[in-house]
């Protein structure tokens, strides 16, 4: 990423005015940054204190306008390593204050200039806490950010006309067009022997998942979301990974079918986030839309097998309910201590594990990275090359 010129924001007063309007008529007036114009999306909030660039580039946020609850955003600029995909994925960005100067030895450019380059519409200078409280009490809402000086009513109509997350298949939109082998260009993982062939379904996969798989010794083939089970298994993988991603898992019927077939094949299987939901549906479970979702880097998740609590990174609007556990083959392994929602499960007999949260973090605590090692152990056992 090259240093973007003109990192200092335009002086106050030069910014054009801008409004964020929700489908229920709530309106917030602020100032524009990034691209001028308008955008729609599901308005959600993220409570992480650091990691705005990882959030912006996480494909799971496709179709969403993301509000950061922390008021100062952009303080340390942007950096190539912090890209979780090739581009900004959100449809809009809401902050209290965008940094006019960034300070970090890592910085390769200012967030504001980068957002403009990425064509992201942003709004700043609003009471973000008021917006968050509205979303918390009223639930996630579709919204529109616009620099146009039209009436609010028109914007409310536009918000209502925008796509509803329920039933929306976004994975198909963000997945890779063609399969590819992941190579860690930054070499972050260091020299590792790639002992396992892993097929990773890309529903909107984050780069840090790929890096951590590679660092665990996986030779990763990333495949499009619509890849069938037989296509995947034809690659003779030691394990299959189901990635995170945006949208309603229920709409990904093709992926649910693939997941079921792969599980039945006995191939070790690991799902994260949307991948976890798809796996849950493949196991006969049900998913539902949370009122306003979990998005942040501070959610306590208890591992029921060890009793330990990990602080996790989260980003999901849908969740798996507990109906899947009526089938005794499946065991609840992780719960969210804030609201008791399902955070993970496993198959009692088959090598299948799945978590709702993000062990790859980015942004967020690294408490759960050991799950990648667990996946590796499942593959070792299956291959018979394990230590045990």
């Amino acid at each position: 990423m090259s240093r973007v010129a003109g990192q200092n924001r335009p002086p106050a007063g030069v910014r054009s005015s801008c409004a964020l309007v929700l489908e229920d008529g709530a309106a917030f007036h602020g100032l524009s940054f990034g691209r001028a114009g308008d955008t729609t999306g599901e308005v959600v909030f993220n409570t992480a204190l650091s990691g705005y660039q990882e959030v912006l580039t996480d494909p799971s946020y496709a179709g969403q306008i993301v509000t950061m609850t922390y008021p100062h955003i952009g303080n340390y600029g942007v950096h190539a390593h912090d890209m979780e995909s090739a581009r900004a994925q959100v449809t809009g960005f809401v902050v209290r204050e965008i940094a006019s100067l960034d300070s970090s030895y890592r910085s390769e450019g200012s967030l504001e200039a980068w957002l403009a380059e990425q064509g992201i519409v942003g709004i700043c200078g609003i009471d973000t806490r008021a917006l968050v409280r509205h979303l918390r009490t009223q639930g996630a809402k579709r919204g529109v950010i616009s620099t146009a000086t039209g009436g609010i009513d028109a914007l409310v109509k536009r918000a209502r006309a925008s796509r509803d997350m329920n039933g929306l298949d976004l994975a198909r939109e963000v997945t890779t067009a063609a399969a590819y082998d992941f190579r860690d260009p930054a070499g972050v993982a260091g020299p590792v022997v790639l002992r396992f062939k892993v097929v990773a379904y890309d529903f909107g996969i984050k780069r840090n998942i790929l890096r951590l798989l590679a660092a665990s010794g996986c030779d990763v083939r990333v495949v499009p979301a619509t890849t069938t089970a037989s296509e995947a298994l034809a690659l003779k993988p030691d394990g299959v990974f189901l990635s995170n991603g945006p949208g309603d898992p229920g709409a990904c019927t093709y992926a649910i079918e693939s997941a079921k077939a792969i599980m039945d094949s006995g191939t070790p299987l690991f799902g994260i986030c949307l991948g976890h939901q798809i796996l849950g549906l493949a196991c006969g479970g049900r998913t539902y839309k949370l009122k306003f979702g979990h998005r942040g880097a501070n959610h306590p998740v208890k591992d029921l097998q060890t009793g330990k609590v990990e602080i996790t990174s989260q980003n999901h609007g849908f969740a798996l309910d507990r109906s899947v556990f009526e089938n005794r083959q499946f065991e609840l392994t992780h719960v969210n201590l804030n609201d008791d929602t399902v955070e993970g499960f496993r198959h009692r007999d088959l090598p299948v594990i799945s978590v709702q949260y993000h062990p790859e973090a980015s942004p967020g605590p690294h408490d759960s990275r050991h799950l990648f090692a667990t996946f590796v152990r499942m593959m070792e056992k299956k291959k018979g090359t394990g230590d045990r």
Binding site: A12, T47, A48, Y76, I126, R129, V132, K308, G364, H366
Partner: protein
Amino acid sequence: MKDPTIKSVLVIGSGPIVIGQACEFDYSGTQAIKALKREGLRVILVNSNPATIMTDPEYADATYVEPLTPEFVEKILEKERPDAVLPTVGGQTALNLAVALAKRGTLDRLGIRLIGASRRAVEVGEDRQLFKEAMHRIGLDVPRSAVVKSMEEARAAVKETRIPAIIRPSFTMGGSGGGIARTDAEFEDIVTRGLMMSPVHEVLIEESILGWKEYELEVMRDRADNFVVICSIENFDPMGVHTGDSITVAPAQTLSDPEYQRMRNAARDIIREVGVETGGSNIQFATDPKTGRLIVIEMNPRVSRSSALASKATGFPIAKIAALLAIGYTLDEIQNDITRVTPASFEPTIDYVVVKIPRFAFEKFPGASSTLGTQMKSVGEVMAIGGTFKEAFQKGLRGLEIGAKGFFLEGVSDSGLTGAALDAEMARPSPDRLFHIRSAFDQGRSLENIHAVTAIDPWFLDQLRQIVDGEKGIATGGLDAGPGAWRQAKQLGFSDARIGEIIGASEAEVRTRRQGQGVIPVYKRVDTCAAEFESHTPYLYSTYGSECEADPTTRRKVMILGSGPNRIGQGIEFDYCCCHASFAFQEEGCETLMVNCNPETVSTDYDTSDRLYFEPLTFEDVMNIVEREKPDGVVIQFGGQTPLKLALPLVRAGVPIWGTSPDMIDLAEDRKRFARLLDELKIAQPESGTASSIPEAREVARRIGYPVLVRPSYVLGGRAMAIVYSDDDLEMFAGEAVKASPDHPILVDRFLEDAFEVDVDALGDGARVIIGGILEHIEEAGIHSGDSAMVLPTYKVKPEHLETIRDYTRRLGLALDVRGLMNVQYAIKDDRVYVLEVNPRASRTTPFVSKATGIPLAKIAAKIAAGRTLEEQGLVKDLEVKRVFVKESVLPFVKFQGSDILLGPEMKSTGEVMGIARDVGVAFAKAQSGAGTSIPTSGSVFVSVHDNDKAGVLEMARSLHEFGFKILATRGTAAFLTKGGVPSRTVAKVGEAKPDCVDLIRGGQIQLVINTPLGQKSFADEGAIRKQATQQGVLVFTTLTGAAASVDAIRALRTDSFEVESLQEILSS
């Protein structure tokens, strides 16, 4: 789950308030005690500091106000036999004490466990070498360094680390004795001092990482190895300034997620390696701004000043949770009080910015360098919460009460310094640096230039620049600005008063225009979760946004104005009173609203009042809350001078004040009005006058006769107060007094030399006055009452004088229509009682008297303010005490090298301890021990008293002689003693011959000094003696009261007749 084998716990407090260890440990200790009690444990507390909430007898089951020494705590352990000792909520004092008890074998012998932190964890956390080794084991980087035990070793070590080098003595608090050596000479000096001050004669010589970025993480761990970060903190001041003296900001502002997570992972590895299994720790890091290299600076395996700040900054009660973890709970078993639905095993996230700014007291210590370094020098701090850094920062500055109404300080920001002179002030960390930076912006210096000079991170400097730029818009807009411009100015954190300064209008005009444009603040909640969950705790801060969450109730409510940042003269005692007021009003069925901006205190615990407004105590900030909440009453008599200053403006704004009327408070402060009242009551006071210029002051002084006491009115703690013996001195001191309080006249009083002084704390309800306690000063007249040792009940005051004092107090209380607390200071000279001053409000001794009598005076006072009579509260008689209670002050001179260590009418102490016993000698010895001074039981005593005291000192000298002391005396005294049959050796007075008494003290040949001065010469001599003695830790007594107490104390020490008794036992005896 809770460990069933722990049924009783001894909690160790932190002792007297000193620099580096203040009321944050009352806050944390109180939380811990409450939590442990709620768990059904028997809680035993030891703390020598009576001005704490935690030592209120209703908190612990057994409260020992005893010295924090291994000897006394051992006696308590033997008596109480608790299952465990919790040392992690009482600062370094408690940790050191716990280690000492472990080393003595006391804990093993009695089968008592250390919980919260193991002995090993404490030692690894504190011992530089062990810590360095531990960090290397887990692959973390620490500065290059060496631990040395001698000057020779130090010289060898510095060849590796190079100059500049950092020097840190082992096992000292707040970095006492440490420093940064930039030259070889400085290196020799600091190492010598550090070796001397370290109790183990050990210092660390360290690679300089000056100018690096500094961070802190507040972390917790439970026995199941669950780990959470409660708060990250970034220092505004780069490395080189003690974190207690730095402006700090939460959360960290300039760390990307990979950098932050690296730090978090390091913190987890550190707490594991050091072995803190249950509780909180503070871990400090530095990063190289050019490369990101991460270095571990230190870790404190306990709650700390920073953890108190982190608790207030996030709403997460670290000390309470730490106490629960120590008795076996895990984080997920504990609920978050604020959300009530989520567990404590999470990491708070915040949606605002918190700025802490230290408060200094260099004006109290002329001669001391105001350059900040690795040894902490600040005496207090403010915390401010804002929607942005700019808002929080400007709030913090106005909350400091140093005259700044925002990011501008008259006399500094407009000092006219330029070029190299300005560079020097910006490069030198000091309390004023910030305001010099302001001046640099005004002079058009670039951000890059300011960064190069100060090493302050550009992101922070950019924030400051936005504030300075904002002023231009304000100046242009003026009073006629539209709502958008007003809102923008307020969102940048500008106070009405500062806007007034910028545009040349009064604060009132600005306020009216702003409100006229509909621009008023909203209040947001501190909720640990950035609004993700509902908050059940009204812990509020103001900002300028679109939605207000204050949600006021319609209950009968009273607002309590707190005392702001701790400073010398206004500290924990007033916070104690504010807390009691809140408790009392709650008992009266009122909703209580606390307003304060001091993060160290119990009053700013969200648990203390029904609603907490974490706001500066300025007229604007207070009025905004008043207008939102519409309280039935506001009380101002508990928070010291800070709320009193607001009394008249609030009254003028129509705010109902409960308690003694502000007019009566003003009457007592206004010399002329007060003198008229005393005339009417026929009560004597030293002759006095007021002057508004130096010539006028001279005239008054000549009229009433020297020596005189000169001081400004409306200041607390005797700021700029002096005893003056001549016209020449008068000019100098009167000038100081004018500077300290320019809008008010100077007071000139006759100084009653050689008088007995007493302090009286009393309560009035309009119809009746009862006396809480009469305290006799042990120091000579002219020493500020806040610095004087005192004894309750009185010791040497004649009964008829006590009668007069009681009578005067009652009549004064009725005449001033006191509705609540009142403090009166008297002097007795030549058999006559004089009133020195009356303060119809909470005093510094209120908590002391409350502990001694078992009657919570502040609480009673609050109930009076709410309309209850004394009789309704069961109080019709003056209070009595069942033991002898001695108060001793603790002084910070050791932190202020180069300052004059003389005591005088200007208060200089930071804290106090209480000694309790059945007789004065033992109580006095305990108080001295608690204050960290030791009374000698053998050696030589130097006696020099004026003629009036010669008869009195004879018996004391005889006793000392019998105890085996050698008596050294000046000529006149020696002759008198010899005549009385006490052998003594004559030594020279100061400057009389060589060696004189000061030389002997310097030579270590004198262990105790009894010296009662009279007259200017004698006063000055005493200064020299005292200075030398204080430097060497030799006790000096300047009154016969003090000397007699010390002789009794020596007698007690020689027979070791010490017993420990809990307040509960004493009060029920």
